[in-house]
Amino acid sequence: MPISSFYGLQTSLRGLMAQQRMLDTTSHNIANASTVGYSRQEATLAASQALQVPAGSTASGSGAHLGSGVDVQSYRRVRDQFLDLQYRGQNTNLQEWTARANGLSSAELSLSEPGTNGINQQLANFWDAWSKLEQHPADGSAKQALVEQATSLGDSFAGVRAQMTAAQSAAQAEYDDITRPASGTDQGGQIAQIATQLADLNTTISHFLTAGDAPNDLMDARDQLLDKLSGYGQVSVEQLNTGSLNVSFVDKVTGTTYPIVTDMASAWGGPPAGDNWTPGGQMGGLLGVARIPGGTVDGYLNTLDTIADTIATKVNAAYGGSFFTIGTPPAGTLMVDAALTTDPTAVTAGTGAPGSNDIALKLSQMAGDPAIDGAYRAFVAQVGSNVNEAERQQSNGQVLTDSVEDRRQSVAGVSMDEEMSNLIRFQRAYQASARAMSTMDEMIDVLINRTGRVGL
């Protein structure tokens, strides 16, 4: 069977078109080199179906397959799903410690230690005021100063407690905002919004995949949303046959799943009742700080209450009467007895005559009491250690997340050098295809215009 003289033209054309597509993909990669969440794409080429030459056309007499050029098989994104899983695991951990470090930092700041404004200094001043009264037991101004200082100590406790409670409620409010489910016209919190977007993407992606297309950029967008979701809590992703996904949060302890997206519909209905779960991620970090009872700040408040209660009890015992009054919560209600604030001269410095000072001495000797000053110092050290630990874990998590992200970028990121060299490669291939086509053209020109002109 003879082969068409124009056959080579078609082969060159295929080459031209394929190289053009390669150049297009390269341009797309270069354009998106800085796009967050973008994974590089490549056009996969394959030789097009060969022309079958029947038997007898070759010297040996057998048949043959004559190459017909190249075809673009698919445009695929280069991405490693296992690295995605690793990244999300590390990101969950990182965000949990970040939220914890942030929440505890504000609790730590409310202590304003070490410094001249903290409770430690107020305690020292309080004991010092007793010492002044010890020196001047009958002096009204020493009594006045003592009552003022004691009031200011109580105020310091109340102030620190109020600020810690504020840090606690701020963390709880952030958690509530993130987890709020959509209802009516309210789009809900971040999780609910991501769930809606994921459901939309699932719908579109499965539609295209069913039709045989590969919606690479949409899949990038979906992966990016999953990355974001992994920051809020531990996420599990289930791949469906249609290319759609089921996404849910997984309790770190019990393994119970809480669906976010089921196939093409958002399924996020908010956290379980009473926030009785361990979601990890930012939600876990915030809950760990804010939970009542059992949260870290709740523990701080209890310690502060115990110290305030001890102060009231011990001071009153040494004073031999009611110097401090205390209510609930103790640290918020540590106050000098109303009878003494209205008449500071009613403070008694000693058990004997007006000049006796044994009570003032006993109280002044309580300075540095292990159950008061010591307990408070231990408390500050505990808060400091917790914040320190959270920040260390956070930077650890950052390093781990970065290293997984590096590996992910190594696979999916756009390398400019690579794209530039590809550009040259495809350009040259395009030029060569064009040259092949003009060679073919010259050949046909000879055949048509110069052949059989003998005698003309």
Binding site: N120, P354, G384, S410, V414
Partner: protein
Amino acid sequence: MNSRITTGMVQRSVLSDLNSISLKLARTQGKASSGKEITRPSDNPFGTAQAMGLRQAMSANDKYKSNIDDATGWMDTTESALASMSGYLDRAHTLIIQGASDTADQTSRNSIASEIDQIIQGLKDSANATYAGSYLMSGTSTGVAPYAQGADDTYKGDDAGWDPTTVGVLREIGPGVTLSINSVGRELLGDGQPPMTTSCSTCCATSPTICAPATAPGSRATSRAPTTTSTRCWRCGRAMAHGRTASKLRRIGSTRSRKRSRSSFRRPRTPTSPRP
């Protein structure tokens, strides 16, 4: 291990390094500008607790120093009061020896008696020494002068600090170290002599002359109004709690050294020695 280095990786790792360097720089600058190694407990939790403990110790030492200064001032004032009392006593001693001599006639004895009256006022004045508005020798009743000027010689303060069952004026001068710094006027000077007009029936019976009101000019009896508080015999001292005797007066010079040792605390003693 990364076979492919992509633009994003390079950019991200440079950025992350820059961030960590900037953080270090900011921390160091913060330390330099605030002059503090620790600005938050989490910078160094253990160091924070230590720093707080040291602050407390400093404040306690300030307190001890202030207490010691105060106690030193108090003691210095007490000492100078005692020194002037000792001077008065020396003079009284000299006068008594002069008066006891046979060469002294009634006129000179009268003038000696009137000088001794002045000395008594001077002694009370010294005992009424104050430091920062507090009477030094009234026990813990620091707002009350231990002795009133004039004829009334009774001690007005309390016995706190002398009587071991009541604590005196205390100063804390070190961790767990306290010192009682006050003096009790009664221990030094007693309650004075009861008026000569008050005598017990026994004395009146044995020597009726002493029960007659003394009228000699310049004698103690004329200058003393009978007091209602004194119900005891001036002569024999029966049922008398305190009396000023020559031997008691002479002890004043050594009183402070006695006070140093608690074991030498004594209850107010009933004078048993017969009056001269």
